[in-house]
């Protein structure tokens, strides 16, 4: 589904990602872990197409298509979803209007008729229930005045609405208490199927107790330094990241 080959990315001439390769197949869950500043969020954001970053080398293919030149909205319509680490507040844009526009844009892209207002509301209610999203919130402006937990739940709610093939969850666990974490994880698990895949980016192993990954990759200094099964997460939790620093700091370049 997703194939990243030797990806190099810079921001304002400064290299952040220095040769990443990764294969993701339908039905899989990949966890990407690593210390702060290792490039995790950059990877997520590049996959979603933010033009702040420059791909200097390498290739990203998704469903057989080259992603590198694709506009962010087209990536979204192709089924890529990014759950933001820091969802932005957009005063004045209501969630209902926002999601209605997004869902219908996706339908249009796929050659479907737009949903009528009543069908849309029904559809939205279903998804809200599915991911346990507070009804009151959908009447408000996007993320405006939301608590950290509410913002993350809103991300999962949008994920449910857009039904992506590939979800990238960037530090979705940060700033969540244990109850909110459970709700978010439950939402992700409910939305899982054999046809879609998930990349979970996290600093801590905690989230992976609830979303069980098939593969765990450790990102350090812009490179994947280790890949293994879910047991790697446990190892990281136990030993921290220092041993990676020691092991790779010198010879990794």
């Amino acid at each position: 589904m997703l194939s990243i080959q030797n990806l190099h990315v810079s921001i304002e001439g400064k290299p952040i990602l220095k040769g990443i390769s990764l294969e993701v197949k339908p039905g899989e869950i990949h966890a990407i872990m690593g210390p702060n500043g290792s490039g995790k969020s950059t990877l997520a954001t590049v996959l979603a197409g933010r033009d702040l970053f420059e791909v200097t080398e390498g290739k990203i293919t998704y469903m057989g298509k080259d992603l590198t030149e694709m506009a962010p909205e087209d990536r979204a319509r192709e089924g890529i979803f990014l759950g933001f680490q820091y969802p932005v507040e957009i005063p004045g844009v209501s969630i209902v209007n926002f999601m209605k526009t997004a869902v219908n844009e996706q339908r249009k892209y796929r050659g479907k008729e737009p949903l009528s207002a009543s069908d849309f509301l029904k559809f939205m209610r279903e998804k809200k229930d599915l991911v346990e999203f507070d009804s009151q919130l959908t009447n408000r402006s996007v993320n405006e005045g939301f608590s950290g937990g509410e913002k993350k739940k809103n991300e999962i709610f949008q994920m449910a609405m857009l039904n992506p093939r590939l979800s990238i969850l960037d530090e979705t666990d940060s700033g969540l208490d244990i109850d909110a974490l459970r709700i978010v994880a439950r939402g992700v698990n409910k939305l899982r199927s054999k046809d879609n895949a998930t990349i979970v980016i996290t600093h801590y192993q905690r989230l992976l107790d609830y979303i069980i990954p098939d593969y765990v990759h450790v990102l350090y200094d812009g490179k994947i330094v280790r890949s293994s099964g879910k047991e790697l997460a446990m190892e990281l939790e136990e030993k921290g990241y220092d041993w990676i620093r020691q092991e790779y700091a010198g010879n990794g370049r």
Binding site: E73, V88, I90, G92, V93, F98
Partner: protein
């Protein structure tokens, strides 16, 4: 700064020409008007000659070329025009499903074939100022030309010298008008035209009303409207004023609005400038009694070579008053804009709460904005603040929307609309709020209703 001398000379000549126009047509002007209006003309003209048309050296007109507007001098409309068209037919598309009492004004006059002064429920009077001056001199004697002293500039005196008609509204003590009144100001002529409209709204004690003013041009000519509106709010009166300015790109509109507010009165005005060649709106409010509240809001959306300049001055003369000024603008293409907001808190106006904000979005490198929020404060126990920003659409928000599959254009529109929504949400009448919301949305999309009342689709300008 230095200005070429010829501007000054030209300027003086313009003023002399206006004086000549007055002297030559004095009989015509005065024949139509009541004595109490005529009595003020001479002094006003003298004052105008003394003050002149404000040039760029005048700090408050620094960013807008006023002398340029009056040169060459346009023909002035000195009597009501018969307009042979069904105005209601023309206008119906613009405000559907809005239950209002509609009044039409053509080139600043009530057309001769309409009822000059109507009496509505609760002894409310609405109609022609000229007619009101004839029939109710006691009301005008008390209120006409009493509130312009908040800013006695030349252009206001020019209006007083020439003013003949405009809208008159009187809400007696204790009357609360349920249905909004809607005024449609139309400019229509076979040539360029100068208009000196004069409005007067009197709200008695504990009264309430809402008024919607729509400014339109119905022909592709240059219309220069130098309009003065005086508003008096007696104790505990409530007044909502919404104004939609939608005029052609060669039109020039100068509006001077003066409000005097007594104890515990509340005035809210929303001015939505959708189109206009050059627009200068002046808002003055004197908070003269305790616990008065003034909210002055404005939204301007401009593109091409439009120039929109808002000037707002709230004068706190009594303690415990509250004022809010919020102006927002989106400027596209080569549009230019200016904002000046001033809060003055006089020495005895303790416990004042005053707030002022101006936010602008520039969409292109050619668009330009000058903003001057000002505080002038002479009392210590006050809470006053102001802020101004100039920026772009938030790239993070734009990316967020796009990452959900919303295309670039749509995402931009959503953000612009959201930016504008702040102002729209302050409009008190719900159907009007929705309607204006629609208009703004269409305006931002560049598809303002294909309505006859809107010059955008007629004449030489292709949209």
């Amino acid at each position: 700064m230095h200005y070429p001398m010829n501007t000054m000379i030209q300027n003086q000549e313009t003023e002399k020409l206006l004086r000549e126009t007055f002297t030559k047509n004095r009989d015509t002007i005065e024949r139509f008007s009541a004595d109490l209006m005529n009595r003020r003309r001479k002094e006003a003209l003298e004052h105008f000659m003394q003050e002149g048309i404000p040039g760029r050296k005048t700090e408050s007109y620094k960013y807008t070329d006023m002398p340029g507007l009056f040169s060459p001098l346009l023909h002035m409309n000195l009597q009501p025009n018969h307009v042979h068209m069904d105005v209601k037919e023309i206008f119906q598309c613009d405000v559907p499903e809005l239950d209002t009492h509609i009044i039409f004004l053509v080139n600043g006059f009530l057309p001769p074939n309409s009822t000059p002064l109507e009496e509505l429920e609760g002894k409310v009077l609405v109609g022609s100022l000229a007619e009101a001056a004839r029939r109710h001199p006691e009301l005008l004697e008390k209120h006409y030309d009493r509130y312009t002293s908040l800013n006695p500039e030349g252009l206001v005196s020019l209006n007083t010298a020439f003013a003949q008609d405009g809208l008159f509204l009187y809400i007696p003590d204790g009357t609360k008008l349920e249905r909004p009144i809607q005024v449609v100001n139309m400019s229509v002529w076979e040539d360029n035209l100068m208009i000196q409209q004069r409005n007067l709204f009197i709200l008695g004690k504990n009264s309430a009303a809402s008024l919607i003013i729509c400014d339109h041009t119905l022909a592709p000519w240059r219309f220069l409207n130098n309009a003065v509106t005086e508003i008096f709010l007696d104790e505990q009166a409530r007044f909502d004023l919404s104004r939609v300015q939608n005029e052609n790109n060669s039109s020039q509109h100068i509006s001077h609005t003066f409000a005097r507010q007594e104890t515990a009165s509340t005035m809210t005005s929303n001015t939505i400038t959708l189109h206009g060649g050059l627009v200068r709106n002046n808002f003055y409010a004197l908070l003269n009694g305790e616990h008065a509240e003034n909210n002055t809001y404005g939204l301007y959306l401009s593109d091409r070579n439009q120039h929109i300049d808002n000037f707002s001055f709230i004068d706190h003369a009594a303690p415990n008053c509250t004022s809010n000024q919020l102006f927002k603008g989106v400027l596209d293409d080569q549009a230019t804009g200016a904002f000046t907001g001033r809060i003055r808190v006089r020495q005895d106006a303790q416990k004042t709460m005053a707030y002022q904000s101006n936010n602008n979005i520039l969409l292109t490198d050619e668009a330009r904005i000058n903003t001057k929020p000002q505080l002038e404060i002479y009392a210590d126990d006050v809470k006053c603040s102001h802020g101004a920003t100039v920026g772009q659409l938030d790239p993070a928000a734009l990316f967020y929307l796009r990452s959900r599959g919303i295309n670039y254009r749509e995402a931009r529109l959503m953000l612009m609309y959201a930016f504008a929504h702040d102002i729209i949400s302050h409009i008190a009448v719900p159907p009007l709020r929705e309607r204006i919301g629609d208009l703004v949305d269409k305006r931002l999309r560049g598809e303002l209703s294909r309505c006859n009342a809107c010059h955008i689709n007629c004449g030489k300008l292709n949209y």
